[in-house]
Symmetry: C2
Subunit: 312 residues, 2 copies
């Protein structure tokens, strides 16, 4: 069976996914990433991982696509900046891996690959204009317009997490304030809960006086904790401003929320729908579909599917 290979290279694990063009996962494998051993050791490990996966499948992928969290230069095939993979910055990752494996390799931002997964797998290529918002520690984005991945002039397009949604808002890891990520990423959610606990010193909440994770906030909200629900509503409001701006920018038919934090859809999606519904300019909003990705692995699967593209 013909398949493509996606390599998801994070700071702790390197994960390989073999998937068909339709997004069916045939096999997965992973090894710990050891960036401190340097880029050449990484190439050797990645090549070994790929060969192991392929020998298990008894097939060979014509191409592979590496998805990286960070600022990637897809044309040069290098990582421009990736906090998780500092030692690889500037290294000719794509060319080295292509040489080691004897086939074409693409290198892209992981959220761009999630957008490709949303377009090609989640929505089965039926919707040509799709945006993805990946909600995790950070907030990433990707755009597919007319069935093509939007890469931008330096490969940095669709960094939606750094669009400003709240003037003078929460500080972002990037140094600015009020970025979408600072309000809707996991640290934005945590900050929102802490602010709410301080604003409402008498409000009961299972989140008070304890360390909590984003998952704890979601679970508390699901169980009816009013403060946790309000925190998610605030996240939803920030996402709503972001989505409204993105619809005016790209006029997509679909916006797909993905990533670990996106699962709590019913805690924030209503606010996003309210924001989109309040716009009097109906043209771009009338036919907009907002959804939460059904699967969590759209980035890895999107990369595997994208590896099969001719211009990948």
């Amino acid at each position: 069976m013909s398949f493509g290979l996606g390599l998801d290279a994070g700071g702790t694990f390197l994960k390989a996914t073999a998937a068909t063009g339709g997004g069916k996962v045939l096999a997965e494998a992973s090894v710990p990433t050891r960036p401190e051993r340097g880029a050449r050791a990484f190439i050797a490990e990645a090549a070994a991982l790929v060969k192991r996966l392929e020998s298990g499948l008894g097939g060979r992928a014509p191409g592979l696509c590496v998805a990286i969290a960070g600022d990637v230069d897809p044309r040069a095939g290098r990582i421009r900046r990736s906090p998780n993979l500092l030692s690889f910055e500037g290294f000719p990752l794509r060319a080295s891996l292509s040489r080691a494996l004897g086939r074409r390799v693409a290198l892209h931002n992981d959220a761009n690959m999630a957008a490709w997964g949303a377009y090609a797998v989640e929505l089965r290529r039926r919707v040509p204009d799709v945006l993805a918002l990946t909600l995790g520690t950070g907030v990433g984005g990707g755009a597919v317009l007319g069935g093509r991945l939007v890469v931008g002039s330096t490969g940095t397009a669709a960094e939606f997490g750094h669009m400003r949604v709240v003037a003078g808002g929460y500080p972002c890891r990037c140094g600015a304030r009020g970025c979408l990520e600072a309000h809707a990423g996991s640290y934005g959610l945590e900050r929102t809960v802490r602010d709410l606990l301080a604003e409402r010193p008498r409000a009961r909440s299972r989140l008070r006086g304890a360390a909590f994770t984003p998952k704890d906030v979601s679970e508390a909200a699901e169980r009816g904790d009013a403060l946790a629900r309000e925190a998610w509503r605030r996240v939803g409001k920030a996402l709503g401003i972001g989505v409204v701006n993105l619809v005016y920018a790209f006029n997509p038919r679909a916006v797909v929320f993905c990533g670990g934090l996106s699962r709590a859809g019913r805690l924030y999606l209503g606010e996003v729908e309210n924001a989109a519904g309040a716009e009097s300019f109906r043209g771009p909003f009338g036919s907009l579909r907002l959804s939460v990705a059904r699967r969590l692995d759209l980035g890895a699967v999107g990369a595997a599917v994208y590896a099969l593209e001719r211009d990948g």
Copy 2:
């Protein structure tokens, strides 16, 4: 000499522009628009205008492109909403004009055509990823990515004027608050001046106690009027937030300001450059070029040039 035809249909004038593929204007002509006479009369007048222009040139354009201020459906070839041309909403403008003139007709938003003019004429197709911001009564936008016009799923892409840049900011014509247009269009500039006059009751300004136009504000600022200069700086700050968000969204190489209000470049461009320069994420900002269009007619010329595109 081979040429394309752009028709700029506004509420008061219908203007036809014949231009070469390189953007050289060969001839122009205009007639008053009389929307109250209905769409069929408009078609007849537009066809007569085109024939008159062509007989003067002794040539025939293979296609034409109509640029309209408003929400246009380029696939259906109809105006969805245009405050200046209310009576044409829903009318099959493209098909009727194509029949009347016996050739292909495209119908697009005027700011999208300004973006095409910025890409194809101003920057001579040397920069594949270009955004245009048209500053006039309203603020419009257009995007060219990879040398292709971004139209979006309903033809409404790049409505940059309605991206929110100031939370709870000035009221916009669209009903929302804090839109880029409400802060950087002509009525945003006027409102900014009025607010400054009220905030600084003792500040001297030639704008105090008089009716003023956006042109008056620019002239006063050019002559050193501190309040007028501050008004333009505030407009520049709003544009700066908008441009930062647009760069994160599209990662363009160039952003071109066009339209009547854009001429005052040195009154606002510094603030936009400051905003872009303050971003710590250098990837998309390092190679960004901000400029003011050299010519005022990019929309009309862009439409004429776009009329020569195969998929126009």
